[in-house]
């Protein structure tokens, strides 16, 4: 039975699980929509274990927005940010100088890597008009599936001019374009271009980006965005094979490199009953929302307090 590690990326939009052996080869992965963290994690883990019965998971690394929660229920060896993990993943495939664009569902990042070291990064702050959520919004407004987005958009010959800078105004600008009789594909390509414009004007501000360009994150599977990006940069953009898993791959590599402590609790996690409870703390004026996690009725962890007094 070969020993493997598990890399989990609990994102805002999707949950990615990757199995990796000690030679840093990917054995299997699961990519599921995030419909509530406990159920989705249970579902993806059981699929993964079902498919790979001759492997034994010995360690686990968790990243993403739900990393605090995930690390408690999975017993993670390493908990880190998406930025570090994605950088490690990219460096594994592209040693040397690269600029990495990462677009997720609600986060987008730009990572500058020189000589295999992350030297600079930027992350979107308030606006998400440069992330996957915007695409999903527009697609659902036009009544098409997100998967079909690029099929439609790539047919476009004269993209519409969509105003950017804000997802809400961007969507309403699409609606007014529909009413003016624009073709669907032109609107969609216009959205792709607006999104890329937004991305570079928000994140690449004041940074000296340099080729080769690598494009990661869930949005990188959208070919229309890749095309818009290539047009914007006038340079080729590389989309690696596992671009959408880059963070999970990175954290799996980190787990292998930094040592496995054997805290992994994933096997029990699938069968056991987990419940959460939220209360608003009134001990001070911060009014933190505390989330308590119960396993079979016993308290196993609490997250969310600013002062740290009530975190377990």
């Amino acid at each position: 039975m070969e020993e493997v590690v598990l890399g989990v990326d609990i994102g805002n939009g999707t949950i990615k699980c990757v199995l990796m052996n000690e030679r840093k080869e990917i054995i299997d992965y699961v990519y599921t929509k995030n419909m509530g963290i406990i159920e989705t994690l249970k579902k993806s883990l059981s699929i993964l274990l079902e498919r790979n019965k001759n492997f034994k998971i010995i360690g686990c690394g968790v990243i993403g927005a739900g990393r605090k929660f995930g690390s408690i229920i999975l017993g993670a060896d390493i908990v880190t940010t998406e930025i570090t993990a994605t950088a490690v993943g990219v460096i594994n495939y592209f040693p040397g100088d690269v600029t990495c664009f990462e677009m997720g569902f609600e986060d987008s990042k730009i990572l500058l890597i020189k000589n295999g070291i992350l030297v600079d990064f930027a992350m979107n702050t308030v606006c998400s008009a440069n992330c996957g959520a915007y695409i999903e919004n527009v697609a659902s407004r036009l009544g098409i599936k997100v998967e079909e987005f690029s099929d439609y958009a790539l047919k476009s010959k004269s993209p519409a001019n969509i105003s950017g800078k804000c997802a809400v105004f961007g969507t309403s600008s699409c609606v007014s374009k529909i009413n003016l009789g624009f073709k669907k594909e032109d609107i969609l390509m216009g959205v792709a271009m607006a999104l890329v414009r937004n991305y570079f004007s928000m994140l690449a501000k004041g940074k000296n980006i340099f080729p080769p360009y690598v494009f990661c994150g869930g949005v990188s599977r959208n070919k229309a965005i890749v095309k818009a990006m290539e047009e914007y940069l006038e340079e080729k953009v590389i989309v690696p094979e596992y671009s959408f898993l880059m963070g999970a791959i990175g954290v799996a590599i980190l787990t292998i490199e930094k040592g496995i402590k054997g805290k992994f609790k994933g096997y029990e996690f699938i069968d056991e009953d987990f419940k959460t409870e939220t209360i608003i703390c009134d001990k001070c004026t911060n009014n933190c929302e505390l989330v308590s996690i119960y396993k079979n009725g016993n308290l196993i962890g609490r997250i969310g307090s600013n002062c740290g007094k009530y975190n377990i």
């Binding site: 930025i83 570090t84 070291i117 992350l118 030297v119 992350m123 702050t125 004026t285 911060n286 009014n287």
Partner: protein, 302 residues
């Protein structure tokens, strides 16, 4: 007379002790949590800097707990900070609070202390001032002793954002949690020296470099000090520099490209954090964590 003043991070206790020594009743400003900030945000102009909103909230909270005299220092600089007291006084009077506002300035600092403590002899006053100065130094020393990390990070930027945890979403304690040693460029003792124009003595080389960089032009507020302190940190081989500023802060916006250039020249990682009541704390936390990881990996590779 019941005196209160805006919350100033770890220095709040010094302020309370100072007023108690002067024999004045003092209402201690409480930590400014989310619930208190909401009030300040409600009565402040939308695009006003975040520290003003916190100061206003802190005042409202103190007034509700019975304060009748508010004290806010006026640095006489050329940024919006200069108008804080006028704006706050008007806003609070419109809300119907009864109070008087005392605004000490650097040039009338001693006469103001003399006035507020009407029946203390002058020699005792000077002793109190000296003790308070030592108290401030002591608090800063104690704060520095909490540095137990393996990387050094210098924080520059707007004064209040750097020192008040509610204005920077607990930046300092978060950095320490991720294993960083934190040094604040412009802390209260530097600020007082700055106000009394005593800081011209130190950091002479840095000042000269900064002046050359700016071609002799001045930036209002603490923009110039941010640049000077960045050079100071860079020359002392700090591992990273963070510029903390309120969203829409004019002086720091001007200083930002200069600090970026300094960090590029010295090859130091640099990050800007802009704070506002709408900023997501998770996002800030993420970036701080990633910044520490970036520095550590960079050091480790060497």
């Amino acid at each position: 007379m019941k005196v209160s003043f805006p919350r100033i991070g770890i220095y709040t206790e010094v302020g309370v002790r100072f007023f108690k020594k002067l024999g004045v009743d003092v209402i201690e400003p409480k930590p400014v949590g989310k619930k208190i900030i909401e009030k300040g945000v409600l009565y402040a102009p939308e695009m006003m800097c975040f520290p003003y909103k916190i100061v206003l909230s802190s005042f409202i909270d103190s007034l509700e707990r019975g304060a009748d005299t508010l004290i806010i220092y006026n640095s006489q600089g050329y940024c919006r900070y200069r108008c804080y007291y006028v704006m706050a006084e008007m806003a609070l009077k419109q809300l119907g609070y009864k109070f008087q506002m005392i605004v000490p300035k650097a040039k009338n600092l001693f006469s103001w202390i003399f006035k507020i403590s009407s029946n203390l002899p002058k020699t005792k006053l000077f002793r109190i001032i000296k003790e308070t100065w030592e108290d401030i130094k002591e608090v800063e020393k104690r704060d520095r002793e909490e540095n137990k990390g393996d990387i050094n990070i210098g924080i520059v930027g707007e004064f209040y954002t750097c020192i008040e945890p509610s204005a920077n979403f607990n930046l300092v304690s978060k950095l320490r949690e991720y294993g960083a040693n934190v040094d604040i460029g412009l802390n209260v003792s530097e600020f007082i020296k700055h106000g009394l124009k005593l800081d011209r003595i130190g950091k002479r080389v840095e000042r000269r470099i900064a002046k050359r960089l700016l071609k002799g032009e001045i930036i209002a507020g603490h923009g110039f000090d941010s640049i000077v302190n960045s050079i100071y940190f860079a020359r002392r081989n700090y591992d990273g520099i963070i510029l903390a500023m309120p969203l829409t802060c004019m002086p720091e916006c001007v200083a930002e490209p200069f600090i970026k250039k300094i960090c590029d020249d010295y090859n130091i990682p640099f990050m800007v954090l802009r704070f506002d009541e709408n900023v997501s704390e998770v996002n800030i936390d993420n970036r701080i964590n990633a910044f520490c990881e970036l520095i550590r990996r960079k050091k480790w590779k060497k």
